[in-house]
């Protein structure tokens, strides 16, 4: 199991990294610059895929958490933990690229506008996910509690998505995912989708690795004699 997981993880990570390298080439030499913002706009190809990968990760955490609550399956909890780490990592990428872009596009790193605030809170929620697991006295209760947090926290995603329309917002609205279909130059769309593929592959690779490690960590240790005897009763 664990060798297979290692091979699968390695393959996925390699594919992801390769695709991301291709994206970088596309970003640097291939895709046309956006008219208004110029070169700066190219951070778009990192920012948006990072955001979507975060969403994917959060979705997996919520799903796995729901399964864990329902079936009390350790595997589901391990999957949730693995995905939650991904959510934190890709969320961090999004939260770093966003302000960098904002510094140039808006003249400020940060403003308390709805999408940014909600995104930050989303990230904190999944930080809290880990804190709560560790801090509740009974570890099993901690897991279930964290699962509840994960599910409630994931409700944030649709809100983040519609927040741009709901509130007066600085942040640009959807250019790809909207009812009328994408309003984006075809080359830009291609670059974006390539980048998205790379991020997703990378995430799935890391996820597979982390999942295998979690499973290993939870395997009951070859116990001392007393422990083993007790377990048999």
């Amino acid at each position: 199991m664990s060798t297979r997981a290692r091979i699968a993880g390695l393959a996925l990570v390699t594919a992801g990294v390769a695709t991301i390298l291709v994206t970088h080439w596309m970003m640097a030499f291939w895709v046309p610059s956006e008219a208004a913002q110029g070169v700066v706009q190219r951070i778009f190809y990192v920012h948006v895929p990072a955001a979507w990968t975060t969403f994917l990760a959060v979705g997996i955490v919520a799903l796995a958490s729901a399964v864990h609550l329902w079936l009390e399956d350790e595997r589901a909890d391990a999957a949730a933990v693995a995905a939650a780490e991904g959510a934190l990592i890709f969320g961090a990428i999004m939260l770093i690229t966003g302000p960098l872009w904002g510094r140039i596009a808006w003249g400020t790193y940060w403003t308390w506008e709805p999408r940014l605030t909600l995104t930050l809170l989303l990230w904190f929620t999944y930080l809290g996910y880990f804190l709560i697991r560790g801090s509740v006295a009974d570890p099993r209760r901690g897991k279930r509690f964290a699962a509840v947090v994960a599910i409630v926290g994931s409700l944030n995603i649709p809100l983040i998505h519609v927040s741009v329309e709901m509130f007066r917002s600085l942040h640009p609205g959807p250019v790809v995912i909207k009812p009328e279909g994408p309003t984006l130059h075809a080359d830009m769309l291609a670059t974006l989708l390539t980048s998205l593929a790379g991020f997703t592959l990378l995430f799935l690779g890391l996820f597979t690795f982390r999942y295998a490690v979690e499973r290993l960590r939870r395997r009951p240790l070859p116990a001392a004699a007393g422990e083993a005897g007790e377990a048999l009763i």
Binding site: A137, D138, R140, E230, I233
Partner: protein, 235 residues
């Protein structure tokens, strides 16, 4: 009917309150659980009643596992705990009627009146719980635990605050329920009373079971010595 706890382990954070306890209680049997303060008696009742799922081990009724998540199981259990578990701002009758309705008792009014009769506080039905004395409140708590005629009773120091008459009445109620085939697990510190009342006694110490035997057997006196000798510290 037999209630079995098998290899029960319960921790509060780093504290292991129960560390692999096995306990068996048959129908028509009163099992007394004794032990020094902090031994894990209350925790044992919490695990058996399903209020707290044990970290390890399981609870079986007639061989099939039970859990607090199962309403069927909860309907068969009666519990008296350290606190009265009543709503202070409601009257005695309001409290009991509320719990009777949640227990789906069809003739709630009658059941409430009868159980208040049993514990001798019938005249207090319209009094708010906050205006009761400690012993009166304890009687109401007992009435609540008997309301739905539960087959399995968990009693955590039920004699607390009861005057001798009420204590005697409780003893005879328990004897009657034993005769009717109920399972009764009784935690108490009054060794004399428990030796007179219970069929079997289990001694806990620091989360371990250190004694388990018939009260009638010759060991009972030893047990008393044993228990009082080793329980000098609560921590």
């Amino acid at each position: 009917m037999t209630l079995v706890g098998r290899g029960l382990v319960c921790s509060y954070g780093p504290t292991r309150a129960l560390d692999g306890v096995d306990i068996v209680a048959g129908g028509g049997e009163i099992v007394a659980v004794v032990g020094p303060n902090g031994a894990g008696k209350t925790t044992l009742l919490r695990a058996l009643s399903g209020e707290r799922r044990p970290d390890r081990g399981d609870v079986l009724l007639d061989g099939s596992p039970v859990s607090g998540a199962d309403p069927g199981w909860r309907g068969r259990v009666g519990l008296v705990s350290h606190r009265t578990g009543l709503y202070r701002k409601l009257t005695v009758a309001e409290n009991l009627t509320f719990f009777a309705a949640l227990h789906r008792i069809s003739d709630a009014r009658h059941a409430v009146a009868r159980s208040l009769e049993t514990v001798g506080v019938a005249t207090l039905a319209k009094t708010r719980v906050e205006a009761l004395s400690r012993g009166q409140a304890q009687r109401v708590a007992l009435a609540r635990s008997l309301l739905h005629d539960p087959g399995i009773l968990f009693l955590d120091e039920p004699f607390t605050g009861l005057d001798p008459a009420a204590a005697a009445a409780l003893e005879s109620t328990l004897r009657a329920r034993r005769a009717a085939g109920g399972v009764i697990i009784l935690v108490t510190h009054e060794l004399r009373r428990c030796l007179g009342l219970a069929d079997r006694v289990v001694v806990l110490q620091r989360g371990h079971k250190v004694y388990d035997g018939e009260t009638g057997s010759a060991d009972a006196a030893d047990l008393l010595r044993f228990f009082t000798a080793t329980s000098s510290d609560a921590s």
